[in-house]
Amino acid sequence: MVMMTYREAVQRALDEEMGRDANVIFFGEDVGKAGGVFKVTPGLYEKYGPVRVRDTPISENAIIGAGVGAAVMGLRPVVELMFADFAAVTLDQIINQAAKFRYMSGGQLKVPLTIRAAQGGGAGFASQHSQCCETWFMHSPGLKVAVPSNPADVLGLLKSAIRDDNPVVFLEHKVQYAEKGEVPEGEHLVPFGVASVLRSGKDVTMVATQRMVAVALAAADELAKDGITCEVIDPRTLVPLDMETILNSVKKTGRLVTVEEAPHIGGWGAEVATRVTDAGIWYLEGPVVRVTLEGAIIPFSQPLEDHVIPNKGRVVSAVRHALTV
């Protein structure tokens, strides 16, 4: 095991895959010479040169489209959208072109494109640079969606994403970039669609992603003092989604709490909850409770931002509510 930051894990995944496969190229706004606005990708430009690593104009449609076209022709582009919020200026290229191209072409094309973007709140970037955007992509069949919560998963999932023949939206949580974690030495791949169970318990199942994983674990600690044990599951990828692990857990606990940072209406929590209430209704012994972004537009002011993003206290209350008999 080696210690590295979430940020370094992104860089290492890119470096390893670019070293391994000459078809991997990487471009985006200021990702090359400057190493990215979040300083996530330093050194790649120097190592792989200006043909394979490129800085682009501020043209998100052109960026994603170039990724789609290059992917169709057999390259494996990794493109960066910088802030995930910017996907909104180019959603057409992502969900109408990249996601559907294989289908529309009757299986002739494949689009091995990886779209990296930093999402999430907590940094005081206000309403247009803080959103969690996974819902847009989950709702678009043809796209895989990764939401790593720690450096090891960043490394293993990003490498898998680049090798995947489907378009993948790879969402990094910007507030986690500096977080450190242990990463296996040598080649480390994490398959898509396999959740990790970070804590086991018998009273409540919590499903959480990215920064909310730590929040869920902290809440579990707190609840443990009262003898309530929580099982905490990190799905790691939302498409595909490992419902088996979640359902098995709910079978045991009878209760489900989802903890996500996205706006309440139509977040992934609703999707997980609904699948459980279809396939797993008979195991459920209490309400399914979602903890989400309250109010749902992210304010700039710190006390307000802290208030709307789920925290330990809100998760603890949600679990207690879920335990209502």
Binding site: S59, I63, V68, G69, A70, M73, Q93, Q97, Y103
Partner: protein, 324 residues
Amino acid sequence: MIAAALPVDTRFHMLQRMLEIRHCEERIQELFLENVIRGTTHLCIGQEAVSVGMAATIDAPRGDTVTCTYRGHGHALALGLTLRSMMAEMMGKEAGCCKGKGGSMHLTDMSVGLIGTFAIVGAGLPVTNGAALAAQIRGNGAVSISIFGDGTPNIGAWHEAVNLAAVWKLPSIFLCENNLYGEYSPYETTAPVPNVADRAAAYNIPGVIVDGQDAEAVYAVVQEAVDRARAGHGPTLIEAKTYRYKGHSRTDPATYRPAGELEQWQARDPIHILAERMKADGQLNDQQFKQMDQQAQDAVQEATTWALAQPYPPVEAAFEDIWV
């Protein structure tokens, strides 16, 4: 610019293809009105010279590619999509180039270099850049042509793509079919410059206007742009002045067109122009032309009959090809 005459076999090939496209489009409209083809169609009748002039520059085995719009039947056929594959796709049959999943607006045939006919205005250009980027990285001298209409330069994706191609000197060629209308809007009501080619100034790339009714002229300017691109000199914006004889789509009667306009353009019909030139050069006579025309008609009829007899895909096919 008076284009140099092309070799006689190239001319024959172009003429044959234009006739096939013409008859195929007419047949498609009939089938549409008979409810055999559903949804929508955007016919290119009148614009065939652009298709064959463009296609003659494409070297698919080398890696050249094309993206175009929903008004793409002609380009697809000119590139070499078979009439059978086309007709079957129009009807949603399993034997269609996209197994019936794409339909009139989404044709792909990678064997002829056709990446796709894009249904979202402007969406094809960024993708053409990607193909051009792959060529640039591989150094294989391949190019990618994106074809679009006169209403398309108003959309952001168009601008971003032309701009990126200019900045990266990509081997992309941007070929506008200015058929005077974007849906029901005359060009001049939605664009601030008289010619689409005038926009090239904003990207520091050549902007060329060509007679879109003259297949040889189209070929010449596109070939020049292709040569520039292959040589690493970057993109070109070409505007072919042309006209669609039919309405925008489906059953649009095109009542917004001034009286006489259609007839004026029909007098410069692309098939007629090439045929007359060949006749003048002693390469073709009326009898031969009639034969070619009949052949094209027969080929279209054969493909139609064949496609009609083809099965629909099994319903399970709806769930295939979403994922690799």
